[in-house]
């Protein structure tokens, strides 16, 4: 195939490797604090190329850490898959026997029968590269077709969202596992990771909006974990690719998404200040990053007005998916400030609040109740009562009912699924 895939150089470890041992695990890239590393196997090194063209001063800049592939063992990177099916034959037959078939894999709904067109390789925790046979690993073109098939399922409405999500979640994880075992860097692979990250972001959005049961909460958590892993691997791929002087056109947006995922210091395992140092200037100067940085600034300063208005005006679909969960928090800050610093004798007009917070007036009232604040009606309209009391607990996520952003642009943005 005529792609520009390139095997990464993997120096062979020889004799005195004791010094390499236990600390390579701890250098895996981190996921937001809430999620746990669940692997002891060390990871495949993708990145670590210093790109002097992109460094700001030409000095030796620090690199993006390689991804944590709990999904695969490190080692012989020269494995090239040969499995021509979405699922290796052995696994397909085994799962038929064991009746371990997902709803989408069943032929005519039969829980014990599948077909090569329906069966998709599952993610396996217990895989080690040593036991991996090339015939069990799918080569890149097959993986791409598998991904196409999986992402198409998102458009089907035969099953509830969480069922679709679960299936795609697991099967794309397996795709990433196969990719990391083969350790290939190419435009094609980068595109695949971008699409998988997009999937996780769409799920992130859906899960955030759905009712918060313990089940969706854990799905959210796991989804975020995989989102971060895929994103981090994507960054490593970008970095290696940059070394051969071809930048992906979508890089800037994905960097902006990372930033937007880490607005709050609680989510930052690596301080943002350090992360910024590693960003190539072409990305820094992009529109996507400029948006994200302004959102960050408004968030940190507490400028609730601009946080909301800028999001409404400028966010792309993916960016919006990530910013949306912060909107409730920012609105809470707004009503806290108004309640705390507003003139006691004149309740703050709900009509005006609805404008700044971009909510329907009825939603403003319901939201105030959620925040344990009162509204009153003095004949000229409803207003938020100022009580000079400090504040609603900003970090309570439980009562975070989200009220839609009252904006036709955002409505249009969210109405359709973007092309994946």
């Amino acid at each position: 195939m005529a792609n520009r895939s390139r095997q990464l150089y993997q120096p062979r470890r020889n004799n005195s490797s004791s010094s390499y041992s236990s600390y390579s695990d701890s250098t895996q890239s981190k996921i937001p604090k809430a999620c746990n590393q669940n692997s002891n196997s060390s990871s495949i090194i993708y990145s670590n190329k210093t790109s002097s063209s992109s460094s700001k001063t030409g000095e030796f800049t620090s690199r993006i850490e390689n991804s944590n592939h709990t999904d695969g063992d490190q080692d012989p990177p020269n494995l090239i898959g040969t499995c021509p099916f979405m699922c290796p034959v052995g696994e397909r037959e085994r799962r038929e026997r064991l009746r371990d078939l997902a709803v989408f894999e069943r032929l005519h709904g039969n829980p014990a029968k599948t077909s090569p067109a329906l069966a998709v390789k599952k993610f396996s925790r217990t895989i080690s590269s040593k036991d991996m046979k090339a015939s069990d690993v799918r080569p890149v073109p097959v993986l791409e077709e598998t991904l196409n098939y999986l992402l198409d399922l998102l458009h089907s409405s035969d099953h509830p969202f969480d069922v679709v999500h679960d299936f795609i979640f697991d099967r794309t994880r397996s795709i990433r596992q196969d990719l990391s075992m083969q350790n290939i860097v190419s435009d094609q692979v980068i595109r695949m990771y971008e699409r998988m990250v997009k999937f996780h972001i769409i799920s992130y959005h859906h899960l955030h909006r759905s009712s918060q049961t313990p089940n969706t909460a854990s799905m959210s958590h796991l989804n975020l974990e995989q989102l971060m892993k895929a994103l981090t691997t994507l960054f490593s791929l970008y970095e290696v690719n940059r070394a051969s002087h071809s930048a992906s056109p979508n890089e800037a947006e994905f960097f902006s998404l990372y930033l937007l995922l880490h607005l709050s210091p609680d989510n930052q395992v690596e301080p943002l200040s350090l992360w910024f140092r590693r960003i190539p200037s072409s990305v820094m100067e992009s529109r996507a990053m400029s948006f994200a940085r302004r959102i960050l600034r408004y968030y940190r300063l507490g400028n609730y007005k601009r946080f909301i208005s800028t999001t409404e005006e400028e966010a792309s679909y993916l960016q919006y998916c990530i910013v949306e969960p912060y909107i409730s928090e920012v609105r809470k800050l707004a009503v806290s400030c108004i309640s705390y610093g507003g003139y006691k004798l004149q309740p703050y007009p709900v009509e005006h609040l609805s404008k700044i917070l971009m909510m329907k007036e009825s939603d403003v009232e319901a939201f105030s109740v959620d925040c344990a604040l009162e509204t009153s009606d003095d004949g000229t309209g409803k207003g938020l009562v100022s009580t000079k009391q400090a504040v609603i607990n900003k970090t309570s996520k439980e009562h975070n009912k989200y009220y839609e952003l009252d904006s036709s642009r955002i409505e249009r943005l969210c109405a359709e699924l973007p092309a994946l």
Binding site: N48, K49, L301, C337, Q346, V391
Partner: protein
């Protein structure tokens, strides 16, 4: 270029080195030993030895000739290889050999009872880092994955482990820690600092005061920087100030490095540096920031951030400085208040939002009255201003007493 020397001369140089090496160990002369190991120092002795090795080619034979030398065969073989490769500019080879040599030395070191060889260990730690950095540069230039520095980090963690125990050797641990910090900062893997910091600070193994001052200063500098990145300004102030006060006054470059981080921290807690200090240590990039804070000049702050954006981003203080905007707003409103007081004392504490909009427009900043109200609300909420705002009258009413509380060494409320 490898200089031409005769086989005889080469043999002589090799033997001389071997003699010095074994003498250093048998007489427990740490200083001499350390000089024999500083590969990257380009010392005349080592360069001439490297030439000799490259000429002679079979130094192993010389080592085996005498028990005196062959007992350290493991070490010497790899040191020679490291020197040879270094001379021939094969930095990856050099690093790998040096790591093996260091490994062997550390094994011996464990058996030596006193801490006489600490100085040599310091040199090893230093060289491991430097050679790894150079090796990675070589790898990167060839389009390969640079990973020697990461390996160096792992190795030094092992060394740290060797030093973390009872006995006089443990005062060396802080130096090794600082080398580790330098590696982790370079690689961007600062989360790895955590475990080492924990060992130094909380485990009962060490008494911080026992360590040499030089190492304590370096340690506080790096941990102070981490606190800055994590925006723990009080802790950052404490550590960086410690580094500053204990830093030798002649080391101006080091003082400058500390101040580069301390100035933004101090600004965040409301303390301004003198212009003379900034000038003395060539920190002029902060001048406009300080001026903006003193004048309430938002345009100047934003301009300063833009002008020095690269520099601030690289050092990692950009976000800290950006956040100073709130204090600039506070100062701006205070100035308006002061002007109003001169005109009409009784009504000075009421400030129309339109006046603030106008003041900002004079600074070429376009903000509508809604956003100004939002900013005022935030300032009050974070206790940078005392008072309230009345939406309908579009006015902010300041408290008659202490309407602009000073930070007094505490950061703005989160």
């Amino acid at each position: 270029m490898v200089a031409y020397i005769s086989m005889g001369e080469a043999h002589r140089r090799i033997t001389e080195y071997l003699t010095r090496f074994s003498d250093a160990i048998s007489s427990q002369d740490g200083k001499s030993l350390s000089r024999l190991l500083s590969v990257s120092s380009d010392s005349a002795v080592l360069l001439s030895l490297a030439d000799a090795l490259n000429t002679f080619q079979d130094a192993n034979r010389v080592i085996r000739q005498s028990e005196r030398f062959s007992q350290y065969g493991d070490i010497l073989l790899h040191v020679f290889r490291a020197l040879q490769s270094y001379r021939l500019k094969n930095l990856v080879e050099s690093y790998m050999a040096f790591e093996k040599a260091s490994n062997a030395i550390v094994q011996e070191f464990r058996n030596w009872e006193t801490a006489w060889a600490l100085e040599a260990l310091y040199v090893i730690a230093y060289e491991i880092r430097i050679l790894a950095e150079r090796a990675d540069m070589e790898l990167a230039s060839k389009g390969k994955t640079p990973e020697k520095l990461k390996g160096a980090g792992s190795f030094l963690m092992k060394v740290f482990g060797v030093l973390a125990g009872k006995g006089p050797k443990r005062v060396g641990a802080l130096y090794v820690t600082c080398q580790l910090f330098k590696i982790y900062f370079k690689l961007g893997t600062v989360h790895l600092c955590r475990s080492v910091i924990r060992s130094i600070e909380t485990a009962r193994i060490f008494d911080f005061e026992e360590f040499p001052v030089r190492d304590k200063v370096t340690y506080m500098y790096y941990t102070g920087r981490l606190e800055v990145y994590n925006e723990n300004f009080l802790a950052a102030d404490h550590k960086l100030s410690y580094a500053l006060t204990h830093c030798c006054t002649k080391k101006e470059a080091n003082i400058r490095m500390i101040l580069k981080y301390l100035v933004p921290v101090k600004l965040s807690i409301g303390i301004f540096p003198k212009t003379s200090l900034l000038e003395k240590f060539n920190l002029n990039e902060y001048k406009d920031v300080v001026l903006a804070l003193k004048r309430g000049d938002l345009r100047l702050l934003r301009h300063a951030l833009e002008e020095h954006e690269d520099r601030f981003l690289r050092s990692g203080v950009y976000l800290v400085l950006e956040k100073l905007e709130l204090q600039v707003y506070q100062r701006l409103v205070k100035k308006i208040y002061i002007i109003q007081k001169e005109r009409d004392l009784n009504r000075a504490h009421q400030i129309k939002l339109d006046v603030i909009v106008k003041a900002l427009r004079w600074l070429d900043i376009d903000m509508d009255v809604d956003e100004v109200e939002c900013i005022m609300a935030i300032l009050i909420y974070k206790n940078l201003m005392k008072g309230y705002f009345a939406h309908k009258s579009k006015v902010v009413v300041l408290s008659k007493q202490d309407p602009f509380p000073k930070l007094n060494g505490k950061p703005v409320n989160a």
